[in-house]
């Protein structure tokens, strides 16, 4: 494309008038062609003054909270030094609380509905021979279904079905149990890669009372997991544990 045409193509891309197919072509060119990328940023700068006349409109108050949650920030996150373990736990709790507000509210209801559906799909569920089972549907902040986790305390295992891709290369997903009584979140370990996985559960989980309402959360941690078992990362998925067996 001659330089002059390419420059006008960049201008039309910035202005936004290109039809979808050409806009896609421009987006590809933007990735691959430095000169085109430069032309685009030049046009953004040239047309920038038009932004000054755009009338402002106050967004709803929840928008900041959504951004805060999605970016892994939480209110009061700067209150104490990051190395303080109490601070880390408080931070984790705040993040889950904020997440709960943001997660379209319906996660728990959906988990229950899913359990009912599971119950209806096959043969009547036999009374458990190996203790109670619990299930949690973990969702992201946008409400998307991400993980289905079944906890089988007697079997000392978790069965995990992943419905989202794994974490970025330098990161790990770590699973946490958060009980309603507000006690310290406990790590259940790193989530293994794959679609269908099982994870061993620490034996002590057997003693924990899950029926009084607990939550599972997955945080994004540095590769290898949270240092010293304390979450440093942001909660990306969470869901209530629901008793699956009678």
């Amino acid at each position: 494309m001659p330089r002059r045409d390419r420059d006008i193509f960049a201008a039309e891309y910035v202005l936004g008038t290109l039809p979808p197919a050409e806009r896609e072509r421009a987006a590809t060119l933007l990735e691959e062609d430095q000169a085109f990328a430069h032309a685009v940023s030049e046009w953004e700068r040239r047309l920038g003054p038009l932004a000054e006349a755009a009338p402002p409109l106050q967004p709803p108050k929840e928008l900041w909270r959504r951004i805060e949650v999605a970016s892994g920030l939480a209110r009061g996150a700067r209150a104490s030094a990051p190395s303080d373990p109490g601070h880390q736990i408080a931070l984790l709790k705040q993040r889950v609380a904020a997440w709960r507000l943001a997660a379209v509210g319906a996660a728990a209801a959906a988990a229950v509905a899913f359990v009912l559906w599971l119950g209806n799909a096959g043969a009547p569920l036999a009374p458990p021979t190996s203790g109670a089972r619990y299930v949690a549907m973990l969702r992201g902040t946008e409400g998307q279904t991400a993980f289905l986790v079944t906890v089988e305390p007697e079997m000392e295992r978790l069965v995990i079905r992943a419905m989202v891709p794994g974490p970025p290369p330098s990161k790990s997903y770590e699973l946490w149990l958060m009980r309603k009584d507000g006690s310290t979140p406990a790590t259940l370990g790193l989530v293994p890669a794959g679609e269908f996985m099982t994870m061993p559960v620490p034996g002590r989980l057997k003693d924990w009372d899950l029926s009084s309402g607990a939550q599972l959360a997955i945080s994004l941690e540095p590769r290898g997991g949270a240092p010293e078992g304390r979450s440093m990362g942001k909660i990306v998925f969470a869901g209530e544990l629901v008793r699956q067996t009678p």
């Binding site: 201008a11 008038t17 953004e44 047309l47 920038g48 006349a53 106050q58 970016s71």
Partner: protein
């Protein structure tokens, strides 16, 4: 907020300063939301786009540099780009049944009414003013509403070819004029 303070905030945000991030949001969210709503005509989609813009800035995927021009204009460019992408995808898949939250304001913002002008804005407006009123109108409809050539042609009752050439000529004139500014 003055360009300089926005620049300072953006620099602090690049160093993951959470207070600066909040301040940046307070200072600019209404502008970005206004831009996104005008293009998308839906407040829910506009919220998504604005959220996306701030996350890109926070995660450093979008990095401000001094040659990017005025900081607010740079942020608006990110929002517009994302909003227009979304708009094109939606119109392509005909996924637009819910216009309940549509914004009724159809007026075209007038850049000449802005009282306090930056140096860049003054230079730009001096050039923009020299364009034919038809050229100006086509460009403003595209900029503020994200219309395609076809949509502008339909709204003005002008042939598409005319709209295309008006916009192209207008853009080329702006560029040449700014070169001599």
């Amino acid at each position: 907020m003055a360009d300089k303070s926005l620049r300072n905030l953006l620099n602090a945000v690049a160093k993951r300063d959470e207070t600066a991030f909040r301040e940046l949001y307070e200072a600019t969210a209404a502008k970005l939301f206004g831009v996104a709503v005008r293009i998308l005509r839906r407040t829910d989609l506009a919220e998504d786009v604005v959220q996306d813009t701030y996350l890109k800035i926070w995660d450093g995927a979008a990095r401000y540099r001094s040659q990017s021009g005025a900081p607010l204009a740079w942020m608006v460019a990110i929002t517009r780009n994302r909003a227009i992408d979304l708009l094109r995808k939606r119109s392509e898949s005909q996924l637009d049944p819910d216009a309940s939250e549509a914004i009724e304001d159809d007026s075209i913002p007038d850049p000449f009414t802005v009282a306090t002008r930056s140096r860049q804005a003054k230079a730009f407006l001096a050039c923009f003013e020299k364009l034919d009123a038809h050229h100006q109108r086509c460009m403003l409809m595209a900029y503020y509403y994200g219309y395609t050539h076809d949509e502008i042609a339909e709204r003005l009752g002008t042939p598409v070819g005319t709209v295309k050439s008006r916009i192209r000529r207008g853009l080329a004139r702006i560029r040449d004029c700014l070169k001599h500014a």
